[in-house]
Amino acid sequence: MISERYSRQQLFVPIGMEGQNQLIKKHVLIVGAGALGSANGEMLARAGIGKMTIIDRDYIEWSNLSRQQLYTEEDARLSRTKAKAAELRLRAINSMISIEGIADEFEPEKAERLLEQVDFVIDGTDNFNTRFIINDACAKTSVPWVYGGCLTSYGIVLPIVPGKTPCLNCLVDKLPQEGRTCDTVGIIAPAVQITASYQTAECLKYLTGHKMSQEMLNFDVWERTYASINVSKLINPNCPSCSEQATYPYLNKQQGMQTTVLCGRDTVQVRPNQVKSMSISALTKQLKPLVDSIRDNGELLMFTIENTRFVVFKDGRTLIHGVNDVQKARKLYQRYIGA
């Protein structure tokens, strides 16, 4: 039974018996157990990765079920944490490997600690804030990872080997903020599956001793377009995240998104440090069909959604009225403002 389990994968020449024996010795960390985390998690568990850790701060909602393949109606009804539900489902898929779900935020200290033990990281996050923490933590510990992002019918994938290929910070000099997230413009499952498939393929390549691609690819599964660019020349010799003089800015908590509970006002302030100015008009256009009573007074944008009132300043600072829980405020911020 054991030898049969992976037989079809072993028949694939680039993996073979030798590659399969490698996979069982490896430890992969999946950050985020949403759509990409689910899809990668299932493929990697079936592939026989010896040890998998999956970390996520969120719980399952009905709106997740259209694409987050590890979860069921019961998970949504019970508001189970994604980490726990993913762990249980992946164990049911493959009981011969070790799987641990961690229901917590992937914050810098925890990131460094987790990375000390792993061979590879899969990006299953839905925001750039966490991705830049992955990027810095992987650079600091020399662990390769694969960035994956998807939105609407579009997806993008880039494998990153710290110090050898450009990192996210070499390519993206500030946190992108355009109000486009899966919660505002939507996403279809095929875009998730293709993105995750490229991520898992690169992970399997790396873990079985093959070189990962140096190309950053993207596709649109609805429009049937595809593009791939070799970005190896874009490595930044002075990169604050991956060069020899790296300072790992996103592992310094001051650099990331900051949240402050405004006492007695049932309000949380969210301040993304990397944003210098944001386009209020672009954000207004994006949010208009979704929210109630949106108003742009030229200096700030105000709107109401999910029983909370947002006030967004030009520098990205946002007050969210109607919440006093920092995690919930972060989630709302990422859902409607992005990053």
Binding site: L36, G149, G155, I156, T181, E223, A227, I229, L234
Partner: protein
């Protein structure tokens, strides 16, 4: 002129067109993207002055945060 963008041939009636015009037509001008023209990556500073020619092969990859 005809330009091949991400593998699809597109016809543009404009005689003069730059990378920034092309990105604008996809509403990508403010987003973070990497653009390649005939296998050469174009630096962001050059988007406004780089004019497209008939038959150019353009690849555009833009970053998204969802997942």
């Amino acid at each position: 002129m005809n330009i091949r963008v991400n593998g699809q041939t597109l016809h543009f009636s404009k005689e003069k067109m730059t990378i920034i015009d092309l990105l604008s037509s996809y509403q990508l001008q403010e987003k973070i993207a990497v653009v390649e023209r005939n296998k050469e990556i174009i630096s962001k500073e050059a988007y406004r002055r780089t004019e497209l020619k008939d038959g150019d092969m353009i690849e555009i990859v833009h970053f998204v945060g969802g997942g």
